[in-house]
Symmetry: C2
Subunit: 299 residues, 2 copies
């Protein structure tokens, strides 16, 4: 098993985008600042998508203008098309993340095209971002199951992985967008990714804890050699176009597990828990984090 | 990895004992009936303890008098002393479960004696139960951490395991009573148990999901060859003498994970989820089950 794993903090983007309460830019910047103080060095900060579809992200440029650029933190902006990429480049993100949904039905609902078409778009975005000198990743959404088509077979996913690898990003993420994956799938599907992608491409896992498998899947991911895990403070998160896609796995729940397992994340449990409580107050609803409720151990 | 694992349904005893709402005997019998319909063949039904300390269990004799004995289900009664054993034998349980807490402080609070003394008591209970022709198990509580002493070292636990093995029960359980364990500990500690106990003794794991590690720990347990996992419908449960010891891992959350991993439990997800909703209504508070909220997948 790896003795360390990088955790990418996604609360400012995937965490918040599905929240009906639109937070101020100042609160988003405070969330980012808190994540950094707790040790985060890679943060999915914003998305450059249609503000009519995702109002929470309408202030993406303002958020990017407000973040501290002196700390060596890499700020990621999600982009779905070239217009979004133009905005991301103008806003000065350090990396872009493009998305390809593994099933045609969900891809159509999410971005109005087939999976194959989304792969072509992602390839263009990656090419242009690389020319601009910034980092690139592609997330394969619904890699463990689709809310509309149900199971996603390993064969289907492997085909999508092959297309995504051809797009040439620095990093490829498998996303359990609706929280249906189990550890056996994580092992299998990270294996497919490793076989297709080769050593030079980082492997990342994006987990939701909808069916209580988030921590188990993360542990299986680390055992399978994953480089990066996405997580969100408080377990906030969801996808507006995926029914019941509650909560990213909570950063503090992962850090608790890894701290007690001798796996280094560079993150501070106590700071994360305190910030999860703060975020809960900002959002005004109970967040699913377990560590926020139970506290660390030993205390 | 095992291709099957037995799940022991503990909602009627460990699940309910910490609930402030005392359920009627009829509701408890309905819970047991529902577990059986969903496939449970081993049920921790009652405890024979001081009703002043655990009022929820005051009707243990009535529950045992009401359960269906024609279905091949093994009903377990928890006993702490010889008086409890007398009651259990008179009530006709199929198995007794005795408890030894791994730390002296917690053992003192739970049963008024040291760990070593509790081992002696358990040995006596096992001897007498075996003479009476019924099954026996001993649970080592706080095997992954103690609310009063903090970490429980592998060396301490190994000493306790050695004493418990000498007591000669059919089965030994390691209990994460306060939900602090992580998968790496499960692997380590089940290894200690396997080395001490030998082939003839069944190995069982009792998990609480307090810090979101329950499913991950169960998966690690199956990978390490555990024979039996305890779980409770709805994730109901706790220990009145252990602060913040919320929720056994939910039976339906485990069954979801195992169903999608090709591991057989003999339990029916849909029936468990329906019963978790029913139990939530009986208790009148939100239960922590994830499957109850999210539903199965594919639907």
């Amino acid at each position: 098993m790896n003795q360390q794993v990088e955790i990418c903090e996604v609360s400012p983007r995937d965490g918040l985008q599905n929240e009906s309460v639109v937070l101020s830019t100042e609160v988003k910047l405070e969330l980012i600042r808190r994540a950094i103080v707790a040790g985060a060095r890679r943060i999915e900060a914003v998305s450059f998508v249609n503000p009519k579809r995702v109002p929470q992200m309408a202030d993406a440029e303002d958020v990017m203008a407000g973040v501290d650029r002196s700390l060596g933190v890499s700020y990621i902006g999600l982009v779905m098309n070239e217009r979004g990429l133009d905005r991301a480049l103008a806003a000065g993100v350090d990396e872009i993340n493009a998305v390809v949904v593994a099933t045609d039905t969900f891809c159509g609902r999410n971005q109005g095209m087939t999976t194959a078409e989304a792969c072509d778009v992602a390839a263009t975005l990656v090419d242009r971002a690389r020319e601009a000198g910034i980092g690139t990743s592609i997330t394969i959404a619904a890699a463990f199951g689709c809310p509309f088509e149900g199971d996603v077979s390993a064969e289907r996913l492997d085909d999508v992985i092959a297309r995504v690898v051809d797009a040439g990003a620095d990093e490829i993420a498998l996303a359990d967008t609706i929280g249906v994956g189990v550890p056996a799938q994580v092992t299998e599907r990270l294996g497919l990714l490793a076989r297709r992608a080769g050593e030079g491409v980082a492997r990342r896992l994006h987990l939701h804890d909808t069916r209580n498998t988030g921590v188990a899947n993360a542990v299986a991911g680390v055992a399978a050699g994953v480089d990066v895990l996405d997580a969100s403070i408080g377990g906030v998160g969801g996808c507006p176009f995926a029914p019941n896609a509650t909560g990213n796995v909570a950063t503090e729940d992962l850090v608790y597990t890894f701290d007690r397992s001798g796996i280094t994340t560079g993150l501070d449990q106590a700071g994360l828990i305190e910030s999860a409580g703060w975020l809960e107050e900002q959002i005004g609803r109970r967040l699913p984090s377990s560590l926020l409720r139970a506290g660390p151990f030993p205390g």
